[in-house]
Symmetry: C2
Subunit: 325 residues, 2 copies
């Protein structure tokens, strides 16, 4: 009888250990304080009766995209798209051979092309994102994202998403959170693939946008994309876009750069339980290492404020078992 | 044995009839062709293997608000809010006594106040919707909507929602549709009560908006509402707003006026199963009767196009058992 009882006890132990293992929602995260903090917060937020309980309809989590959900070096992936589109559209624009910043792109000198700063970038965005219908643009993006590859890793750009963050997105959704992307990137650039890659449906993608115009074309209604900026979803624009699209303050916010600072401030200034996390790119070997001095994804003020306010700073090197899926 | 078998057969029949009755998702709709058409469409759209099957993630239904989900006579309910706010704010604005359109509002002459057309209306909207934070405005709306009453019916405005449409919203959600409001009314005017009254959460409310600005006020982040129009969500604006907020074409669209025409065109021009419905106000006794000649909720082109394209036109008089809850 004694051995049977022992067997039952060990059996139960074995069962609960294996259940725990099977239930680990974040297998690509090392068992560091970061992971423990995330899980503890979510458990408090979802436990009825807990002081930090958040009702299901208020469980909003917002994620930056570039540098938070996928890589952003040596430049934003949407910039690769812009350059590829300029090359593809060049035959229809013979004048581009003589006209900057297009001429430099066609010569392959992206540094000179980008030297014109925001104005030059905006000109290239308008030349490649406007002048067609929303459906046509969506198809262009879908075709590009299915084949274009990163020059350094040789991976598809959608293979350069962060596996630990994919697990975090899925975990939060399982716990009743609605996950939103709030990105400086183009809203219509992300939507064609965000649902497949991140599990985030188009109606939960927020980003920068250009204006559109409703027209009847041969009796068929279309939305033409106009070469006019509608909204720049970066820095102080992020809280405004969150309010405009979501209409309530997030409970959790995830970013990686100073462009996310106001979003994290806005999120954590709400009453009750709030959570802010910054992904710190400190893994030169497996990904890229950059912060205060970087032109892309600069993280300076955000790093100081995270320290001062006790926000979570993820060390990609220490906290993540793996980077890409 | 025979009677036992009969009993079993009748028992089964009785059970299925009572199940059908209990399961009627639209009890406030008369059993007319309209109701049958709605239910038949939803059954086809949600039945796997059906030619008209719509995957769950694409089940988007958009509803106009004024005149479609709640009443809009003798003027949009948000106009009552504007006038009440002007009266409440008048002590802080002594200059309004001499300045139109405010002077007329304070004298109680709404007709003269509105005679200045769109410009005067916009001025009144800015004076009452801007100059405070988004949270302050939300509280003002919540306080007003909890007590303000309709001059003719004496009901709270939120009691003048249409019971048959509440049932339709709930029915569609049960069938896996995400229900959105897409209204010419103010997005921040609807959000504070749309979830409680319609079951539509803030992130699924789309409407007209003014700009906001992120600021740190005594170190606390706020969004200040600016006296500047951001987007007018009416007519050709509705498809643009649908694309911007939702990012995919709705499967079903519900409106009541020419302001919804482009939304219905945009919805029904999609491939596969699409559904458009217009609520026709033809019940002077229980609600209001108006269409082609009305200043509010004018329905002229929409009525013709509905006939030409086979869209459903709801007769409030014939199709609805009751109007208000």
């Amino acid at each position: 009888m004694r051995s049977a009882r022992l067997f039952a006890v060990f059996g139960a132990l074995w069962l609960s250990v294996s259940t725990l293992r099977a239930a680990d929602p974040l297998p690509s995260w090392n068992d560091t304080a970061t992971k423990k903090f995330i899980v503890a917060f979510v458990e408090r937020a979802t436990k009825e009766g807990s002081a930090d309980f958040v009702p299901a309809n208020e469980r909003i989590a917002v994620f930056d995209n570039d540098g938070t959900l996928w890589a952003e070096q040596p430049m934003y992936f949407q910039a690769f798209f812009v350059f590829d589109r300029i090359k593809a559209l060049a035959p229809e624009h013979p004048e581009w051979k003589e006209k900057e910043p297009f001429a430099s792109v066609l010569k392959g000198d992206m540094k000179v092309a980008l030297a014109g700063g925001e104005h030059a970038l905006l000109e290239m965005v308008m030349a490649t994102h406007a002048g067609m219908t929303t459906e046509e643009f969506s198809k262009v993006v879908s075709d590009w994202i299915a084949t274009a590859k990163h020059p350094k890793t040789g991976k598809l750009f959608t293979e350069m998403v962060y596996q630990p963050m994919l697990e975090l997105l899925a975990y939060l959704r399982e716990q009743g959170f609605k996950t939103f992307i709030v990105s400086g990137g183009g809203i219509e650039f992300m939507r064609p693939w965000a649902e497949r890659v991140y599990g985030v449906p188009p109606e939960q993608v927020v980003g920068s946008s250009i204006k559109t115009k409703f027209e009847l074309r041969d009796g068929k209604p279309v939305l033409m994309k106009l070469p006019e900026l509608n909204f720049l979803d970066d820095k102080a624009g992020k809280p405004a876009a969150i309010q405009h699209h979501i209409g309530r303050r997030p409970v959790m916010a995830f970013g990686n750069s100073d462009g996310d600072l106001q979003m994290l401030q806005w999120t954590t200034a709400g009453s009750g339980a709030r959570f802010a996390l910054i992904v710190h790119h400190d893994d030169a070997e497996r990904e890229f290492a950059y912060d205060r001095e970087s032109h892309v994804g600069k993280l300076d003020k955000g790093l100081d404020e995270a320290k001062a306010k006790g926000w979570i700073v993820v060390s990609m090197k220490d906290d993540w078992k793996k980077i890409y899926p």
